[in-house]
Symmetry: C2
C-alpha cells in the first residue's frame, strides 16, 4: 500500500473518530491487510490509538501488536487494562507476547501474566528468561515435532488437524523420546513421498541447529549464508525448544545495519527514527555531542600549543582545517569499509596484519595525491611555496595515521568483544584531528623563518 492510500485511510479513520463514530473507524481499519493496518495505526496520534485499541477484538488487537515495532507495541499494550491485555496476549504468538511482556513495567507484566490463559502463560514464561538479542529471544516455541516412526500419511493427517497459519515454518522437525532434535523433513519431501513411507526414511539427519544462547547476529549470518527458511533452536541437552524463521532475521539484519550506520554517525540508539519525540532525540543524541566535545577540546589544545606561531602567520589558520579534515574523511572511509566488513563476516581478527598494511599503503598514496593537490592549490592561491610543502608533508602523515586508526580502532574494539562501530568514529577523528593539527602546525613552527620572510 503506498503512502497516498495510507494517508487517505488515515484521514477517514480520524474523521470518523472526530465525529465520534468509533465503529466506522474500526471498520475502515478492519478492511486492511494486517501490515497496512499496523502502518496506519502507528501513524495515528496517541490518544486515537488508545481509543481504538481496546475496541478491537482480542484477535485483531493481537495481530496488530505483532505487526508493530517492538517499542511501539509495548507502548500501545501498556495502555490496556490488565484483563484486556491478558486476553490480547493470549491470542499472540508466544515470542511476540514475550517481547511485549519484557518491555512492560514489571508489575504490569506479572499482573498480565497471572491473568493469561494457563497454557499460553506456560509457553511464554520460559521465553522471558532469554535476552532479546539471542536465539532464545528470537525463537517461537510453536512448532510441529514429529517422531521418526510416523508415516507420511499420519503426518499429513496430523497437519490437517492443526491450525496452520502463516507463521508455521515449512520445515517439520523430528525429535526422539527425550525431545532431542534428530532430523528435519521439508513440506516438499512430504508431498513427494508415498503415503506409507516412514518419516525416518525421508528425514534429513544432518539438521543444523543453533544453541538457545547464540547471538542473534550470528544466527542471522548462518541463515543468510545457507539460505535457510528456518533454523531449530536447542538447549544444552540438544532438546528442541524453538524455531527461528527467516522473517525474524530480516529484521535482525536491518536492525544491525541501522545500528552500524547510526554509530558511525554519532547516534548511539538504533531505535531513533525521524519520528522519535524531540525529548527522546535530544536525550540520546546530546550525550554523543558532549563526548565529541571532549575530543574537540583535545584537538583545540593541540592547536593552542602553536598559538604563538599562528599569531605570526595567520594564514596557517586557513589551512589547518584542510589537513585535519581530509585525514578525517580518509579515516571515515577506512572505518566504514572495516565496520561493514566485520559485520558481514568478510574480515576476522586474524586478518589484521594484511588489512592494516593495505590501508596504510592506501593512506600513503592518498596522502601523496591529495597532498600534491593541496600544496599546489595553496601555492597558487597564497603564493608561498614552503606553505605547500608543509601542507603536503602533513597530509601524507595524517593520511597514514588515518589508515592506521581506521583499521586499529575497529579491530581493537572487536578483540575486546565490543561493537566495532561503537565510538570508533569519535576515536578515529580524534586521531586525525590531533595528528593533523600537530603535524601541520609543528612543521610550520619548524619552518617559521621561511614563512615569515
Amino acid at each position: 500500500m503506498n503512502q497516498l492510500v495510507i494517508d487517505t485511510t488515515l484521514e477517514r479513520v480520524r474523521a470518523a473518530l472526530e465525529a465520534g463514530k468509533v465503529e466506522d473507524a474500526l471498520a475502515v481499519l478492519a478492511n486492511l491487510h494486517p501490515a497496512d493496518r499496523a502502518e496506519a495505526f502507528s501513524d495515528l496520534p496517541r490518544d486515537d490509538q488508545e481509543e481504538l485499541l481496546p475496541r478491537l477484538d482480542p484477535e485483531d488487537a493481537a495481530e496488530l501488536l505483532e505487526e508493530l515495532e517492538d517499542e511501539e507495541a509495548a507502548e500501545a499494550a501498556a495502555s490496556l487494562p490488565t484483563a484486556a491485555l491478558a486476553d490480547v496476549l493470549d491470542e499472540m504468538e508466544p515470542d511476540a507476547a514475550a517481547d511485549i511482556l519484557g518491555d512492560l513495567p514489571p508489575a504490569q507484566a506479572s499482573a498480565a501474566l497471572a491473568e493469561m490463559d494457563a497454557e499460553q502463560a506456560e509457553e511464554v514464561r520460559p521465553l522471558l528468561a532469554h535476552a532479546d538479542d539471542t536465539a532464545g529471544g528470537l525463537m517461537t516455541p510453536d512448532f510441529f515435532a514429529l517422531r521418526r516412526q510416523m508415516t507420511v500419511r499420519q503426518t499429513i493427517d496430523f497437519l490437517r488437524g492443526q491450525e496452520v497459519d502463516h507463521e508455521t515454518p515449512y520445515y517439520l522437525y523430528v525429535v526422539d523420546r527425550n525431545d532431542r532434535l534428530i532430523g528435519v523433513v521439508g513440506l516438499r519431501d512430504l508431498i513427494r513421498a508415498a503415503p506409507e513411507t516412514l518419516i525416518e526414511t525421508i528425514m534429513n539427519r544432518e539438521v543444523r541447529s543453533v544453541p538457545v544462547g547464540a547471538d542473534q547476529e550470528e544466527v542471522a549470518r548462518l541463515m543468510k549464508k545457507y539460505g535457510w527458511l528456518a533454523v531449530p533452536v536447542v538447549d544444552a541437552d540438544g532438546k528442541l525448544v524453538g524455531v527461528i524463521r527467516y522473517d525474524d532475521i530480516v529484521h535482525v539484519l536491518e536492525e544491525e545495519a541501522t545500528e552500524d550506520l547510526y554509530r558511525l554517525s554519532n547516534v548511539s540508539d538504533g531505535d531513533l527514527t525521524p519520528w522519535s519525540p524531540v525529548r527522546v532525540s535530544v536525550s540520546r543524541r546530546l550525550p554523543w555531542l558532549y563526548v565529541n566535545l571532549v575530543t574537540a577540546f583535545l584537538a583545540a589544545a593541540v592547536v593552542s600549543l602553536f598559538e604563538a606561531t599562528i599569531a605570526q602567520v595567520a594564514i596557517l589558520a586557513v589551512f589547518q582545517g584542510i589537513v585535519a579534515g581530509q585525514g578525517g574523511n580518509a579515516g571515515t572511509q577506512t572505518l566504514a569499509i572495516m565496520v561493514r566488513g566485520i559485520a558481514l563476516g568478510e574480515i576476522e581478527l586474524g586478518d589484521a596484519g594484511p588489512v592494516i598494511f593495505k590501508e596504510v599503503s592506501i593512506g600513503l598514496m592518498h596522502g601523496v595525491a591529495v597532498g600534491l593537490a593541496v600544496a599546489l592549490g595553496a601555492w597558487l592561491w597564497k603564493g608561498i611555496p614552503i606553505l605547500g610543502l608543509i601542507i603536503g608533508l602533513s597530509l601524507v602523515g595524517n593520511m597514514v595515521a588515518a589508515g592506521l586508526a581506521g583499521t586499529l580502532v575497529p579491530l581493537t574494539l572487536k578483540a575486546l568483544k565490543l561493537d566495532p562501530a561503537l565510538a570508533s568514529a569519535v576515536l578515529v577523528t580524534t586521531v586525525t584531528d590531533c595528528v593533523g593539527f600537530g603535524l601541520f602546525l609543528g612543521l610550520a613552527t619548524y619552518f617559521l623563518p621561511y614563512l615569515t620572510v
Copy 2:
C-alpha cells in the same frame, strides 16, 4: 562453519595444490556444503582458483559460482574457456547465469551464449534485458505454473515428476490460458486439501505481484513488510514472467544498507570490501577525497576572509574548529536518521514540514546545550568571557544550520529522484563548516575591540 574450520580447510587445499595433488584439493572442497565451498574458494589466491575451477564438473562449478558474490563469480567465470563456461552456465539457475553473462566482457558473453544449450539460452536471454536492480534482474524464470482446473492430486503428481531443488518456491502460481497470473496456492494448502479438490477452489485470488521494471529496493520493502517468501513478477500484460525469492531480497537489503553506510562515509562504491585490491580502492576512494577537497577550500576561503582578525587574536584559530566540527557532528546525526528513515520507508516527501521543524528545534536545543558548555570551557580555559559568548552564539547558529542542512539535503536529493545518501555528507559538512567559520569569525571581528583588550 567457523573461521577456524575454513582456515584448516584452506590449508589442506593449498598444501594439496602445492604438492601438485589437484585431485586431493578437489576432494577436500567436494566434502563441504556449497556455501562453505564458496567461502573457502573465494579465500584462495587467484591462480589456485583458476587451477581448480576448470577441474570441477560443470554441476559443482555452477553451484560454486551461484554461491559467490556477483563480481567474484564473474571474474572466476571469465577465466574459463568458452566451451567450459557454456557447460557451467547450462547448469546454473537462469537468473544467476544471466547475472554472470551481464558482468562478462560482451564478446565473451555472446560467445558463451551461442554455445549454451538452446533451451537454457532461451530462458537466460530475456533476463539480460533487465537492469540488475529491477524486479526483472532479481527474478528467476524457473517456476511452476498451475491451471485452475487441475485437481490437488494432479498437482501433487505433477510436483513429484519435477526436479524439486532448494530453489523451488513454496508458493505455486496459477495462470489463465494467456499465462496471466490469476491466483496462488501454498504447499500447505495443497497438503491440507482433499485430493479431488480443484485448484481454483483453494487458490488465493488476491495474489500480489510486482511489475518487471519495479525497483529492487521497492520489491524488498514490500516482501519484508508483508512477510512474503516469494513474489511473482508480471509484465505489462499481467503475464507471469518470473518469481523473486526471499533470499534474493535479504541480499538486496544488505546491499542497500552497505551502500547507505558507505555513501555517508564518502565511499561511493558499495562493492568495496577490506579485500578489494589497493588499485581499485584508491581509484574509487580518491575521487571523493578530491570532491571533499573542493569544499574544504571553500571553507578555507571563509576563514581566509578573517585572516586579519586571526592575526590580532590567534586564539580564535584554537576554537574555530570546535564550532565547525560540532555543527558537522550534529548534521551527521540528522543525516543518518533521515537517510535510514527514507530507506526504511518511515519518511516520505510529504513529511518534510514537520521533520524539518523538529530537527531545527533539536538543533536549537543542542546549540544552547553545547554552546553553554563550550562557552564555559573557553572562559575557564582562556579567561576571556566575551570569547565564550561568541562561541556560544555561533554554536547555536551552526546547530540550527546543521538541522536545516541535515534534513533539506537528503529530502531534496530524494525529490530529484537521486539517492538521498549520495554526496549528502559532503554537502552537509560544507554547510556546517562555512556557517561555523563564518559565524564564529564574523562575530569575533564584530566584537574585536573587546577581544583585544
